[in-house]
């Protein structure tokens, strides 16, 4: 990995340069909550000032720029008794500035599902490769448990990654595109002073984390506790609304539906992100539902996060960003459920 330092004015100039001809997406404050705390969202910006790189977290993840909540997979043109299919992919380069390590780790996990091994998705690849990613370090956020999942740091999956050193950024470069972009403005080589300050900054961040959640034994524990009353307890609270999956940076499951216009001249095949907590997720033709109870669906989501995904990709799907816990209308959060499962094991 190559490192450089970049003055804050130069960074601003760099963003301005990208803004001249490309879309820039980043954390912007969109509202305040009932306690007056700012609410942030990743959204397209027109000026550098709209970006708030000191944000703590966002309600929604940035996955919508890679896996849109709704995406047209193909368009049908109907004529007399025939049809043609048109498929287009995202072709516009853009930059996302200010992603935290958890969200870049989330993209690395999505890459494994959407872009590797079997049936790589051209829809996803087009968006991923057309997106310059500039990450940024931050202090541990409230409710996040990323360190337990090893996603508090990241060393690939981005183009540039910034660490704030007061008047300048310490920049990690992980792609040729990142290198070329960075060199559109004046950058400096890293000095010993820069490295010292960088390590101090990293140390300060690392010391800010709460106690770790033990997730290593979860794959086994989830099998053993499949019939546990922990699921009955939390299942009774769950509203099966699917908010957790919507805000999750790695939940990728979806439904496909098709539409035809009223005059049958055209139609569309549309993919819409879904949630395994929604009642008809596992319902098959004829009406049989493989997961009819709320607790079985809630359990399934945890099973996929910490058991199924581990089996398939040797790592949990969860990045510990804490968004699902914050979004949950019933106050269910992963540390609580995992804590209950672990406590049960300790008591035994």
């Amino acid at each position: 990995m190559l490192f450089k330092t970049l003055g804050k004015n130069e960074f601003r100039a760099l963003v301005d340069i990208i803004l001249e001809s490309n879309e820039v997406i980043g954390p912007t404050q969109v509202d305040t909550d009932k306690d007056g705390k700012p609410i942030h969202k990743y959204q397209p910006v027109k000026t550098f000032e709209e970006l708030d790189l000191k944000y703590e977290n966002t309600g929604f993840s940035a996955k919508t720029y890679f896996l849109p909540y709704k995406e047209n997979l193909s368009t049908w043109r109907f004529s007399e008794d025939d049809w043609t299919q048109e498929i287009t992919y995202h072709l516009h380069p853009r930059a996302i500035i200010g992603l935290h390590a958890c969200d870049i780790n989330a993209l690395l996990k999505l890459d494994k599902v959407m872009a590797r091994e079997f049936f790589p998705s051209p829809y996803y690849l087009s968006r991923r490769r057309n997106t310059l990613i500039v990450g940024i370090d931050h202090e541990p956020c409230e409710g996040g448990f990323c360190r337990s999942l090893g996603t508090d740091t990241v060393n690939r999956g981005f183009d540039l990654f910034l660490t704030d050193l007061g008047d300048r950024y310490f920049v990690a470069i992980d792609s040729d595109r990142g290198y070329a972009t960075l060199h559109k403005v004046a950058v400096r080589d890293v000095t010993e002073q820069d490295t010292t300050e960088y390590l101090e900054a990293r140390g300060k961040i690392a010391s800010g984390f709460g106690p770790d959640l033990e997730v290593k034994q979860l794959p086994n524990l989830l099998d053993i506790e499949f019939e546990s009353d922990v699921w009955t307890k939390w299942g009774a609270k769950c509203l099966s609304c699917g908010s957790c999956s919507m805000v999750c940076p790695t939940c990728y499951c979806y439904g496909v539906s098709e539409f035809a216009s009223m005059d049958f001249s055209e139609g569309a095949k549309v993919r819409q992100l879904y949630s395994c907590n929604l009642v008809d997720f596992a319902q098959v033709a004829g009406g049989h539902n493989f997961r009819p109870k709320r607790e079985t669906r809630l359990k399934y989501r945890y099973y996929h996060q910490h058991r199924g995904f581990v089996e398939a990709y040797d790592e949990p799907k969860c990045v510990g960003c804490g968004r699902c816990g914050r979004a949950c209308l019933a106050g269910i959060s992963p540390p609580d459920i995992i804590g209950d499962l672990l406590a049960k094991e300790e008591r035994a």
Binding site: I17, I18, E20, S21, N22, L73, S74, W76, F78, D81, D82, W83, Q85, I87, Y89, L91, H92, P93, A95, V113, M114, F118, F119, P120, S121, P122, S126, R129, N130, L132, R177, T181, D223, F226, Y252, C253, Y254, G255, V256, E258, F259, A260, F264, G267, K269, Y274, C276, F281, V284, A285, G286, F290, Y300, Y303, H304, R307, G308, V310, E311, A312
Partner: protein
């Protein structure tokens, strides 16, 4: 002005420019492009089920399409939807693909209303297949319950086409009442093949029914094969294959020699949409064909 970030065009990748072939799973492809296909023929099987002959329109694509018994396709009615359907026909036959479809939802209702000649789309084949090669030299039990005969018909045809590869062959088929019997015009043909035994049982006989009455496990009473050296393919509703497999195991057949086909909702067929997930497994990628030992280890599989 030249943009500072260069656009990336996925359609210029070498792999995606190769002809579309869903058997090349690791290659980058237009995965949502469907092969245009014509409903060349429809054969009514029962009140609710029809056999569709689907012919891929482009002769080159038609020739390239190949599958193994047990695999499925995603069948699409543009503008209405896409459904996973297991292939019911012979994999040695190149001209058309046979799909046995029950009228049950939006897409299948549209298909039942379609006229021969209508253009649909198919993607695939997807999923795992019955290990017909591994079964070579052994006796085979082919057991179906109800609509399970649809996926079982493909390995049945395979075995009849390659009869000399196998020892004893028993086809056991159970269904609700005689009006629900699928492919009844073919029973005589299968029975005439030397060394193929077909037994059919119904649960609710009508006045014309002369065969045995009961559930399909009852037919196992009359089978005498060396169970520890025999393979079984069992297709039907979960409750049926659970009973059948448990009984076969009690008769001495190892669980990893029984193969079942699971049915789940699917929206992609490519291990992405998660709709078919059972525990940690994608039915569309790791299945639909599983051995019974694997199924027993999947949470909520049956």
């Amino acid at each position: 002005m030249t943009p500072h970030l260069q656009p990336y065009d996925v359609t210029r990748e070498d792999e995606i420019r190769e002809p579309l072939d869903f058997n090349r799973r690791t290659h980058l492809k237009h995965v949502d492009r469907t092969f245009k296909a014509e409903i060349s023929s429809m054969i009514r099987l029962t009140e609710k089920e029809k056999l569709f002959h689907i012919r891929i329109v482009d002769p080159v694509e038609r020739e390239r399409f190949s599958f193994l018994p047990g695999q499925f396709v995603m069948l699409e009615v543009p503008g209405f939807g896409e459904v996973p359907i297991s292939i019911s026909g012979s994999n040695s036959q190149k001209g058309f693909i046979e799909l046995c479809i029950r009228e049950t939802g939006t897409v299948t209702t549209m298909l039942h209303r379609a006229r021969p000649g209508a253009h649909v789309g198919i993607r695939g084949p997807f999923g795992t297949y019955f290990p017909m090669q591994k079964m070579k030299g052994h006796s085979i039990l082919l057991i179906a319950g109800g609509l399970g005969l649809a996926p079982l018909r493909s390995p049945i045809i395979y075995v009849t086409e390659n009869r000399s590869d196998y020892d004893q062959v028993h086809i056991l088929y159970g269904t609700g009442d005689p009006s629900q019997l699928l492919f009844d015009y073919q029973y005589e043909q299968w029975r005439r093949i030397d060394g193929v035994n077909l037994s059919i049982i119904v649960d609710k006989p009508d006045s014309n029914w002369k065969g045995p009455v009961g559930v399909v496990t009852k037919l196992l009473d009359n089978i005498s094969v060396p169970m520890n050296d025999t393979y079984a393919i069992v297709c039907g509703p979960p409750v049926m294959f659970k009973f059948v497999c448990t009984m076969l195991n009690r008769m001495g057949m190892p669980r990893d020699r029984m193969f079942v086909s699971l049915e789940r909702r699917m929206h992609c067929g490519m291990g992405k949409c998660c709709r078919c997930n059972v525990g940690s497994t994608y039915v569309c990628m790791d299945g639909p064909v599983f051995d019974f030992w694997t199924v027993m280890n999947l949470k909520e599989a049956i």
